[in-house]
């Protein structure tokens, strides 16, 4: 039988058996819903910096329409708006602030009461307005006519603003959230499907069906078929999550369907395939080294830890400096790349040559891992003791 036929049969069995499992379908459904919910709900929980804030200010005691006008004008000038509310006494205003119903309260036009979370911008805004009213009062007291006052206050030419630095690809909180969320999903997918490979290997070994299979299949047919079959399912699920995420984001206007978004989605799929390929080979090998299912968790731990550490590194390096040398170098390390590269692509801070280099390094490492781990797999898959020693597996590679 040709190797391709054998591998295809093994892969098909993996896909068919899992797709038929109700548990698998439920997990896929729940994760898709979770991603959609996260995309729709999370941005609403975030303080969206690009939306004009509305400050709720309580006015206690004496207050003039001039002050109210000044507050409104000052807010408008700083691209915000105010919601002015009459409050009967200071106690009520304080309660309102502490409960979060009010952002601040102005007492008799003299005293500004603020809460622990009140923004500095609001303090500035109110003091500007109050200063302006007091200034007008002084002008009035100095005996200037209405016309003179108006002339003094007529808007002069608007201040010219010049911004330094290139803000293209600038990171909104939403962008960061989507990127980090995406990479966490990536880690989960790699571990979930890697663990499925491990379990599959242990099931075949512990049930001894592997001896029946290897009477016709070569070990690498069985290994390759299993990795490809489970990998295709994983890719299908990641694709589904990406589509659900992008559609939900577009539907709620959380993101624009920009080139960066598409590149990030494509990058997520590419790095899932590469990351899964590398990690699942290790999962398969540790699976072959043990015999009993209850040992699976312990055996998987080193691989899971490496994956988690790689993710942590990617996240902290990104938070520290998304364009820094640490992340740029780290994202070339094959075990880290599946987590770091999608972050950089999601933030639009990666260059094409870096992607190409990382992919080449990754493919080389996968090849080496398949050769190395494949031999350990073949050397240990038929042994039945408690746990196979690495050196024994390497030496006794009978197949």
């Amino acid at each position: 039988m040709r190797a391709v036929t054998a591998i295809r049969l093994v892969a098909m069995r993996e896909v068919r058996q899992r797709v038929r499992s109700r548990f698998f379908l439920i997990v896929v459904g729940i994760t898709a819903l979770a991603v959609a919910a996260a995309v729709i709900v999370l941005p609403k929980l975030l303080d969206r910096t690009d939306e004009p804030p509305i400050y709720k200010i309580g006015l206690v005691g004496e207050s003039t329409s001039a002050l109210e006008q000044a507050l409104t004008a000052a807010a408008k000038a700083s691209a915000a708006s105010v919601d002015l509310q009459r409050i009967t006494n200071v106690e009520a205003a304080e309660t309102g602030i502490l409960r979060g119903d009010l952002d601040a309260a102005l007492v008799d036009g003299e005293e500004l009461v603020i809460g622990p979370d009140t923004r500095r911008a609001l303090q500035v805004l109110v003091s500007v307005a109050v200063q302006q009213v007091r200034f007008l009062d002084k002008l009035d007291a100095a005996g200037l006519s209405q016309a003179q006052t108006s002339a003094l206050l007529a808007p002069s030419e608007k201040l010219q603003v010049r911004e330094l630095g290139d803000k293209s690809g600038g990171l909104s909180q939403a962008d960061e959230l989507f990127t980090i969320g995406g990479v966490v999903v990536m880690l989960m997918a790699i571990i979930l499907y890697g663990a499925a490979v491990l379990t599959g290997v242990v099931v075949e070994k512990s049930s001894r069906v592997v001896e029946v299979l290897l009477a016709t299949l070569r070990p690498w047919h069985l290994l390759a078929g299993k990795l490809i079959g489970i990998g295709l399912l994983g890719l299908g699920q990641v694709l589904l999550l990406v589509v659900v995420g992008v559609v939900a984001a577009l539907a709620t206007d959380a993101i624009d369907l920009s080139a960066t978004t598409l590149a990030a989605a494509g990058s997520a799929l590419l790095w899932f395939v590469l990351g899964y390929s590398l990690y699942s080979v290790f999962f398969a090998t540790v699976g072959a080294l043990i015999t009993r299912q209850e040992d699976a968790e312990g055996a998987a731990l080193p691989v899971v830890l490496v994956a988690n550490a790689s993710l942590m590194f990617s996240m902290f390096a990104t938070l520290a400096d998304p364009e820094g040398i640490v992340l740029r170098v780290g994202s070339q390390i094959p075990l880290v790349a599946p987590f770091a590269m999608p972050v950089r692509a999601g933030l639009g801070v990666v260059e094409v040559w870096e992607i190409v280099l990382a992919v080449i390094l990754m493919l080389g490492t996968i090849y080496g891992a398949v050769m190395f781990a494949g031999r350990l797999y073949a050397g240990s898959i038929l042994s039945i003791g408690a746990r196979v020693k690495l050196t024994d597996a390497w030496k006794s590679s009978d197949l």
Partner: protein
Amino acid sequence: MGLELRNATKHYGDLRALDDVSFTVEAGRILGFLGPNGAGKTTAMRAVFGLVRLDRGEVAWNGVRLKPDQLLRFGYMPETRGLYRKMTVRDQLVYLAQLHGLSSREAAEATDRWLEELGVLDRGDHKVETLSHGNQQKVQLAAALVHDPEVLVLDEPFSGLDPIGVETMEDIIRSRAAEGATVLFSSHQLDLVEGLVDDVVVISKGRVVLEGAIDEVRERTTFRRLDVEVESSNGSWSPNVDGVEVTARQNGLVRLQVGPDVDLEAVLKSANDAGRVTRFSYQPPSLSEIFVKAVQG
């Protein structure tokens, strides 16, 4: 011609599992591969499928070194039974048949045919783990047979079977051989295989100690069995003749092992002197006697 092991040698550390083992299963014949536990039977059978890499020697099929593709026409029942427990019986057999090169349609047809033959057609859509032990054994056998192999290698096929299961297994082995299949099976239940095998190979501590057609092996043995019952002696009678050895006494029966040219007249006379002789039976040794003699040297 047929399936050959040639000078098969395999060490596990200091343990010599196979020591220059050579024998041939002639095409279309049934060979019983016998030996005590740990003699190397399983290692030899695994070597046929390349599951054990021999230190030296090779496996040949019809005179030439066995190629991996030819294994597709082989059926194997390993000593440690193994199936996917969560897979249905039918899916499992179809999958295994396809791995042996059958198309999906051929595989489905063969699966149903074998399930019917083994009387488990109604279990086709059940998961293996829900089946009784006996039915799981049948599915395991079906897994070895589903692609109608030319060569059947069965490691301890009778272990764990009830008498009806044993009979079914014997019938299938016979009918496969009658249709031209070559059968190699191992066993340590010698009374079961006695009436089934054409040829035997006895292996002990990794070495072949006896081989040949079963009738020939019996003929070649240098001893015979003589059962004698003497009334009123309570089985305490002993013959006083050279070359005669008592091997067992049970319920008044005295079992003797005698050389081929023993003076039977003298033995009978000795028995007659002790009392009335109610049984005097001279016959070739049983397979297990031959086995014990061969293994113990």
